[in-house]
Amino acid sequence: MSEDRSDLFLTTRWTLVGEAARTGDAGAKQALGSLFVTYWKPLYRYARRQGKSPEDAEDLVQGFFEHLLEGDGLRKVDRDRGRFRAFMLGSLKNYVASEWRREHRQKRGGFAVHLSLDWHDAETGLGLDAEEHRSPDRWFDKEWATALLDKVLDDLDRDEPGFERWKRFLGRGQGDLSYADVASVHGMSEGAARVAVHRLRKRYRQRVRDEIAGTLADPSMIDDEMRSLFEALTDDFT
C-alpha cells in the first residue's frame, strides 16, 4: 500500500522531467536536478573512459546538464522515457557527438547553471586501463547501479538511527555475520539485534525499489530494471 503510493510519487519525479520539456516549469527542473545530483558520477566517469581529461569531463557533464535544462535535450524524454538510465546515456552520447564541441568552445568556464559537485570525488578508483576503455557502456551501467545504491545508503544513513551499526548486514547473506557479536558490543540482546537488522533490511529494500521507481516511467518495470542493474554489477567483462 505505502509502496504503491511512494511508487506513484517517485514515478512522478521522472515524469516531471518530461513535463519540463513542454512547460519549462521550475519545479520540474528541480526534479531533474535532484536526479542529476545522484547520477552525475557515472556520466563523468563515462566521459573519462572516452578519453576526456578531468577538466573536459567536468565541462562535458556541466554542459550536458545545462543542455538538458535549456536546450532541446528533454524533448526526447517523452519518446524515450522508459528508463532514465538509458535516456541519460543516450542523450549524453548525442550531446557528445553533436553539440558539445560547439558549446564547449563558447562556454568554457562560463556555464549559466553551475553544478556544485565534488568532481574530484568521481576520480576515486577510476582505472582507465585498456580494459575499462573497451566497454564504457557496460561500465556506465555498473556505475549507475553503484550510484543508485550509494544514494539509498546515504539516505538511510541520514534517516535511520543506528545505520552505521547495522549497515554491514545489508550486503551479506545470512549466517556470515554474528548477530551475537554486534549485539554484545552494543549491549543489546541478540533477538533485538536481529529485529533491528530485519527492519533495516526491509526499509532498505523498499528504498531501493523507490529509488529505481524514480528513474522509470512504469513502476511495473522495477523488477526488470533491478535485474539489469544486478547483472551490470556482476558483469566481470569476460
Binding site: 578508483g125 544513513d157 556470515d176 551475537a180 541478540e190 529485529v195
Partner: protein, 492 residues
C-alpha cells in the same frame, strides 16, 4: 582493477569509495531478495476493507494502516484517541462468522482472553461488534513476527533456544487458566524492538472455531488436532515445529529427521525437539514448564537437565555399570547350570543346591532388572520412544510373562539402537535377533524346563545367548552413559 579489495561474499572486486564499503552486487542481491519488503497485506481472496472503511466504523480510533491479513481476520494499526496509545484492531473475517450462536460464543471467549495478563502475551484491551463486524482491540507490538525473521534463514541454535522459554512461560500461564492457543506458528510469535517475545492471537483459533470446525494451521497442527481433540499438548507440538523450523529453516517432514542431521546442532537438541514433536501426546512434554526447563538448560549449559518430567536421572558412572554387569555375569553363570541340574538331584544335595541356586538367581534377577531400568532411564534423556508401559515391562521380566519379556527386550534393543544411531555414535548395537532368541528360549525354558532332559537342552543355549546379551547390554549402557555426559564426539 588490480590490488583491489574483494567481496568475501561474492568474490567480486569492491569499488574504491562509494556504497559505504559494502559490495554493490551483494547490496543489489539483498534488495532483490523477495518476500521481505514492506508488503504486509495481500494474499488470496477478497480485498480486506481499507483503513478508511474501518475508520468509519470506529470513530474512537484513528485507523492508520492495515498491518496484515490472516485466516482469522484483518489487523489494522490504530491510535486510540482517548488514551493516546497505539493499538491493533483485529477484525474477524466475516466469512468465518456463520453461526447464529457465534455472538454468544465470541463474548464468552473474548472475556476469557481479556482476563489474561502476561508480559509474553499480547494483551486484549477490548472487544465487541459493530454492524456485524466482530473485532478485538489489542496491544500494538512494534516489531516483527518470527516468520519475518525466518525468511532471513534459519537461526543460531542459541537464539532459537532463547525464544522457547518465554513462549513456554506464556503457555504455562494460559494453560493454567484453561486457555489453549491452538494456533502457535511463527506468524503469531512477535518480537518487539527490544527482542522480547509476545504471543499474539491467543485463543482466537478456538474463538473462531466455535462451531467445532478444525482450526489451526496445518503444518503446525498436532496429529490429534486432525480429529478435533485438542489440549495444551497441541500447543507444545506446534512450538516444537516452530523450534524445528528455527533450527533447520525447514518444517519437519512426516518422518521427522533429527535436526542434527540437517544442521550443525548438538545431538542433545535433537532429543529435546523430537520429544515435543512426538505424534502421541502422551510422549510429549506434558507441560510447557517441562519444555521450558529443557530449553533453558540446553541454552544454559549445553547439558541435559538433571531431572525432567519426574524421571530420575540415572545416577551411575561407567565404573558402577561395569561392576553391576560383572555381578550379573557371575551370578548368571552360577544360577543357570545349577538350575539345569536341579531336577536331577534329590535329598540333601537338592537342599544344598537350592541354597546356592536361589540366592544366585535372585541376585541375577535383581541386577538384570536394575540394569534394564537404568538403560531405560538413559534412553529417556535421549527422547527414545520408551513409554512407561515398556518400563513396567522391563520390571516384569522375572515374572516370565512372554508378552512383556518380548516387549521389553525387543523394544529396548530397538530403542537403544535408534538412540545411538541418532546420536551418530559408532558404538556397538544391541542385536534385535539375539534379544528375540533370548525371549523365545526363556519362554521355552519356563514351559518345558521341568523335564530334566529338555530343560537341560534349552538351558545351554539360553545360558550362552543370555551371556552374550549381557555383554551387549553392558556396552550399550556404557555408550548411552557416554552420550549423556556429553562425550558424543568421542563415540563417533
Amino acid at each position: 582493477m588490480n590490488d583491489q579489495a574483494i567481496c568475501l561474499e561474492c568474490g567480486k572486486p569492491l569499488p574504491a569509495g562509494g556504497t559505504h564499503e559494502i559490495c554493490p552486487a551483494c547490496l543489489m542481491a539483498q534488495a532483490m531478495a523477495s518476500g521481505t519488503r514492506d508488503t504486509r497485506t495481500g494474499g488470496a481472496g477478497q480485498v480486506p476493507p481499507s483503513p478508511d472503511e474501518i475508520a468509519a466504523r470506529f470513530p474512537q480510533f484513528e485507523v492508520v494502516e492495515c498491518l496484515g491479513r490472516g485466516g482469522m481476520g484483518v489487523v489494522y494499526k490504530a491510535r486510540q484517541k482517548s488514551l493516546d496509545r497505539w493499538v491493533a484492531i483485529k477484525v474477524l473475517a466475516p466469512e468465518r462468522i456463520h453461526d447464529e450462536r457465534f455472538a454468544e460464543h465470541f463474548e464468552k471467549e473474548a472475556k476469557t482472553l481479556a482476563r489474561m495478563s502476561h508480559p509474553n502475551i499480547v494483551t486484549v484491551f477490548d472487544h465487541g461488534e459493530s454492524d456485524g463486524l466482530f473485532y478485538i482491540v489489542m496491544e500494538y507490538v512494534d516489531g516483527v513476527n518470527l516468520r519475518d525473521l525466518l525468511r532471513e534463514g534459519k537461526m543460531a541454535p542459541e537464539q532459537a533456544l532463547a525464544i522457547v522459554p518465554p513462549v513456554c512461560e506464556a503457555l504455562e500461564y494460559a494453560h493454567g487458566k484453561g486457555v489453549v492457543h491452538r494456533d502457535i506458528k511463527p506468524e503469531n510469535l512477535l518480537l518487539d524492538r527490544d527482542g522480547r517475545v509476545k504471543i499474539a492471537d491467543f485463543g482466537i483459533a478456538s474463538l473462531v472455531g466455535a462451531t467445532g470446525e478444525k482450526s489451526g494451521t496445518p503444518p503446525y497442527m498436532a496429529p490429534e488436532q486432525e480429529q478435533g481433540t485438542v489440549d495444551r499438548r497441541a500447543d507444545i507440538y506446534a512450538l516444537g515445529v516452530v523450534l524445528y523450523e528455527m533450527l533447520t529453516g525447514e518444517r519437519p517432514a512426516k518422518d521427522v529427521v533429527a535436526p542434527s542431521r540437517k544442521v550443525e546442532v548438538d545431538v542433545k537438541i535433537d532429543e529435546m525437539v523430537l520429544r515435543a514433536l512426538e505424534k502421541e501426546p502422551e510422549r510429549r512434554y506434558q507441560t510447557a514448564a517441562e519444555f521450558r526447563t529443557m530449553a533453558q538448560t540446553m541454552a544454559g549449559s549445553g547439558k541435559l537437565p538433571a531431572t525432567s518430567s519426574g524421571i530420575r536421572e540415572a545416577r551411575f558412572n561407567a565404573g558402577s555399570v561395569r561392576l553391576h554387569f560383572t555381578i550379573l555375569a557371575v551370578t548368571w553363570w552360577i544360577s543357570m547350570p545349577l538350575g539345569a541340574i536341579l531336577p536331577l538331584v534329590s535329598g540333601e544335595e537338592e537342599i544344598l543346591l537350592l541354597l546356592l541356586w536361589l540366592p544366585a538367581m535372585a541376585v541375577a534377577g535383581v541386577f538384570w532388572c536394575v540394569l534394564l531400568y537404568r538403560q531405560w532411564l538413559l534412553l529417556q534423556g535421549h527422547g527414545a520412544r520408551v513409554t512407561p508401559g515398556k518400563a513396567v515391562g522391563y520390571g516384569f521380566i522375572p515374572f516370565y510373562c512372554f508378552y512383556w519379556w518380548f516387549h521389553a527386550y525387543a523394544g529396548l534393543a530397538t530403542d537403544t539402537n535408534r538412540c545411538l544411531e541418532r546420536a551418530g555414535a559408532a558404538a556397538p548395537r544391541m542385536s534385535f535377533g539375539l534379544s528375540v532368541t533370548y525371549c523365545v528360549l526363556g519362554v521355552l525354558l519356563c514351559t518345558i524346563g521341568l523335564h530334566p532332559v529338555a530343560g537341560a537342552l534349552i538351558d545351554v543355549p539360553y545360558m550362552i545367548v543370555g551371556f552374550i546379551l549381557i555383554l551387549q547390554q553392558r556396552d550399550c549402557v556404557l555408550a548411552l552413559l557416554k552420550l549423556r555426559s556429553g562425550e558424543a564426539a568421542d563415540l563417533r
